[in-house]
Symmetry: C2
Subunit: 212 residues, 2 copies
Amino acid sequence: MAKDFEPKFRRRAEARPDEVLDAAIKLFAEKGYAATTVDQIAKHAGLSKGTVYLYFPSKKALLEGLVHRAVAPIADMAIGMISRYRGDPRPVIRQFIYTVAANFGDSHAFAVPKLVIREAVTAPEIAQLYRAEVIDRAIPALTALLAQGIEGGHIRAVDPELTVRSVMGPILMHVMLAEVFGVLPEGGLSMDRLIDNHLTILFAGLAPEAGT
Amino acid sequence: MAKDFEPKFRRRAEARPDEVLDAAIKLFAEKGYAATTVDQIAKHAGLSKGTVYLYFPSKKALLEGLVHRAVAPIADMAIGMISRYRGDPRPVIRQFIYTVAANFGDSHAFAVPKLVIREAVTAPEIAQLYRAEVIDRAIPALTALLAQGIEGGHIRAVDPELTVRSVMGPILMHVMLAEVFGVLPEGGLSMDRLIDNHLTILFAGLAPEAGT
DNA sequence: TGAAAATAACTGACTGGTCAGTTATTTATT
DNA sequence: AATAAATAACTGACCAGTCAGTTATTTTCA
């Protein structure tokens, strides 16, 4: 059943929910959740408002749908990389950071986390979903990785849970400066240069011989 | 002329704008800008809606007023501490971080920055105001401090502008995790422990002898 | 001193517009 | 023809901003 013709109407369109979500994230990212109307989302997806309500029961369900769609792949990919690893954590940290940065560095992929942060006050359920699916999986994984590296003598005795902030914080700050305030270092986003600079400092700071 | 009685009307009420802003930041922080009505702010300040519009021309002007009021003291205090300092930057960095953390660590003081981040998409002027008054003053100051420390041989040759992210990022991440998602390390916010852990790693990582 | 006049502070009902969600109707598909 | 998909018109709640009028405070002047 080749669909070579232009489908003006497509019945039974199971691609519809995704198209609606695509339109929603674009507009939410541009103008914010509250300032975006369901009608605009519908028009942008080439639909009427009523049709949107065929697939999503409410405007907030669009937000939930977006987070659901975005959350699983990120978390799985990133966390699978870490868990149960044994040995010097530094190569894994480097790889993890590059993977996360590749996602967050492009503003399209950062749109959902940004939206979650923005709407956390208005929609706490969304923030909690994100927390449960991403944060509460990533932090323990990184913490365990660090703890294991300390035990193995690969890095020195720091607080593993707090050190997670030292590992990821600079990346977060870099992206937030760029995305929220448009603050870029000389010569553009320079994500690779940032990571290099960060990891140089971090790994030197974590090196066992650097301790007392 | 002791005013022991409750003044229902207060002429020449120059305290009013501040009272309105107090009510506004409380409600904006609790429920977000869009979900807060001017009437609620008025009621909360013990006023009618009309009176709010005597002092502020629009709802957005409340937002601007809040940022204006919050921005100057933070920036001045923090930046005055840094500029034109010569010598080993590490003690100054430590002091700067403790000062910033003392402000951001309590959620009352973090309310305005958080609001700015949330409304940056909806109200870019506000984000730009915050950037001009805080970020574009703090980053160059820290960058210069680091550059000068590198020249003096107190810390090793890293990229000063990017290293600002390594200095402040972990604090930002710690506060955001706590404020946005309610993620705290075991045993509460532990801002002091976080700073200790962070600075131990950072200073070891920046130490000249740690280099090649 | 004290009452009337002037003015500053404040009020709340109203308006015009917006928008999430619903429903009656039309259009496509089998 | 029957049914599923989609539409467009509609509804009702909500809210920013306005304004005509009210109340408290100060000033003026006898």
